[in-house]
Amino acid sequence: MSTIANLENATYTQWAGFIDDIPVFADAQGFIRLLTGQEKSVNVHDGLLCAAPETDGKALVSGGEDGLICRLDANGNVSLVHQAATKWIDKIATGPAGTIAYGSGRRGQIILNSGDTREIALERSIEGLAFAPKGMRLAIARYDGVELQWINTDRSNQFLQWKGAHTGVMFSPDGAYVISLMQENALHGWRLKDNKHMQMTGYPAKVASMSWSHKGKWLATSGALAAIVWPFSGRDGPMGKAPKELAAMGKIMVTRVCCHPTADMLAVGYENGMITAVRIDDGQIVSLRREHNAAITTLNWDKAGTRLAFGSEAGEAGVITPA
């Protein structure tokens, strides 16, 4: 049986995961809590809107309503990375070597760990940010497509066009594909070597969460009454193939997915607060958390894949250690 350590946050859990193997929970009010020997709570923002762990897992970078970007380490020490203009900072991404990108309306910046910055200035609002695996390029989701901006050169952006509002973006682990989330209950993908398009549609709800399996063979997504898992192992990615529909629990919408770091399985969070784990091969399900009142908003495994941190819309949060 799984063991669950539960925390009660005041508000919506924006991010739950592990920083240097310490469970860390960031809530929308701006408090970040660390589950060390004793619980430690740090007020980092007046309103926290986005958070992402650094790629080495040693710190959590966050942006907020206060226009601040902060960095918190596993000891709970907070440093100010950047103070932006007056608008909300609601998008953030991290890349290799401590690179950070943030978005605030139509403006944003790439902050290199040398302290140098590069401007992001678009005609449309920044809806999503993701660094390529090697960190040389930044994908920026916006209306009508995804911009690919170089980190170190002034070469102009490559624009991956597809009509409609793109509200989030991610690279595949091998950097071969760019996948975006769309306003109209779909994903869109581009294969970068030939700009071939992939449409992944049929979702009954907006897709809010996607996660790559550890070797990049599968892309798991939320937005349906099951975890929708697309095969990417073939030459043409998921084109012409049906996705797997896993971990369906009746008429309960999946709101969050997170693939395991070492095995072909994923954790699945639902709109009623339930959490399961499911094996991709045979679809076998293990229940990890029973129904509660609020939707799961965040799920992250620790490095070894032995513990799962979760958080909900109502601020419930905790760590599950599957048996």
């Binding site: 919506y12 924006q14 909300w88 209306y143 009509k163 306003q183």
Partner: protein, 369 residues
């Protein structure tokens, strides 16, 4: 998109916390939006507001929680040009709702040139916004002194009036009585359903503009059974049998209109307005004819239909069926049983441009049992 059956509403109906009401303020620069906003925020009503603005005006807004966002109109990728939402509002509302304890209601102040349709449609087309918030009312501020000139050169000013549930005819002290009468007639022509208040320096009892539930058609019809009759005064006079006009009738909207014929191009040359209203009326309808009909009408003419509202009597159906729409978005639901003292009359009103009155009248009539 079309959700005429109301089935979605049942799925979304979870026993959760009530939806946060959102009031949208529209109006041209200088009409008095900031004055009204500050009036709302500083009055001692015990309610806390979050305010979303698209541009900080020169005069400050006195509130703790103001969010500045870049206006983003997103066309939905479904081949329909009028299916637009405001991407910035989706994001800001989602983020605001993560800390809902901070406020009791939300006010959106749009820019003078903003199109109100994407703002309103956001509340019907985005599931995240729809489950947590509800559009309470669209309040338009109109500068009494300058609106006539605005209407001549801008479509936005007209759209804002057409979309409004409540209109504040502000700076009323700057015009004389004949000007006012003319203005009221124009407003009634563009939007016969809006409640119009004449104000000076945006002075108004806040009950008149907040917590209106104006988009809840069920409530409107219960509070104001005459709601859908109002437009009849204006345009559909020839087949309006409820309203008898005597010599002492002082309904402003009568004064300047010719009701006898050519409704389609009524007055447009005089006032420079392009929006008109078509009011339809019939006895009992056949749902198997009406539902496909309204679906088709909104699919084909959606871009020209700004708003539609109606109450329908279906044959063998004890309950009133209410319907409302914005462009191609339709919502319909059963409301309550017809009372024994009520005539089972179906009424439907379109506010829009280039409406084909003859076609609408003919095809609507064909839905009768």
């Amino acid at each position: 998109m079309n959700d005429i059956t109301g089935q979605n509403q049942q799925i979304n109906e979870q026993p959760t916390t009530p939806k946060i009401p959102v009031t949208v303020l529209t109006g041209y620069l200088g009409a008095g939006k900031t004055t009204l906003l500050n009036r709302i925020l500083t009055q001692d009503h015990g309610r806390k507001y979050a305010v979303i603005v698209n541009e900080f005006g020169e005069i400050g807004i006195d509130n703790d929680l103001i969010v500045d966002s870049d206006e983003e109109i997103y066309e939905m990728n479904n081949g329909c040009v009028c299916c637009t939402v405001r991407g910035d509002l989706i994001r800001v509302l989602q983020n605001l709702m993560k800390r809902r304890g901070r406020f009791d209601a939300i006010i959106i102040e749009t820019t003078g040139l903003a199109d109100p349709a994407p703002v309103a449609q956001t509340f019907f087309m985005d599931e995240d916004v729809q489950t947590k918030t509800r559009l309470d009312a669209v309040v338009a501020l109109v500068d009494a002194k300058h609106i006539m000139a605005r209407l001549k050169d801008s479509r936005e000013a007209e759209d804002q009036i057409a979309f409004a549930d409540v209109i504040l005819l502000n700076k009323i002290d700057l015009i004389d009585e004949p000007e006012k009468a003319g203005l009221l007639a124009v407003l009634a022509k563009i939007n016969p359903h809006a409640i119009i208040h004449e104000t000076t320096r945006a002075e108004i009892s806040l009950d008149e503009i907040l917590q209106r539930n104006a988009f809840d058609l069920t409530r409107i019809l219960d509070d104001d059974p005459d709601f859908l009759n109002k437009s009849d005064h204006d345009h559909a006079h020839h087949h309006d049998h409820d309203h008898q006009c005597g010599t002492d009738c002082n309904d402003e909207s009568h004064a300047h209109h010719d009701h006898s014929s050519t409704h389609g191009n009524l007055d447009t040359s005089v006032h420079g307005t392009t929006i008109e209203t078509v009011s339809l009326r019939a006895s009992e309808l056949d749902p198997n004819k009406f539902l496909p009909w309204i679906d088709k009408i909104t699919q084909i003419d959606g871009p020209d239909i700004l708003r539609l509202k109606g109450i329908i009597a279906f044959k063998d159906d004890p309950d009133r069926f209410v319907v409302q729409g914005i462009h191609m978005i339709l919502e319909g639901d059963h409301q309550r049983a017809w009372r024994s003292d009520e005539a089972r009359t179906s009424r439907l009103v379109f506010i829009g441009r280039n409406l084909d009155r003859e076609k609408l009248e003919r095809t609507f009539a064909a839905c009768a049992v």
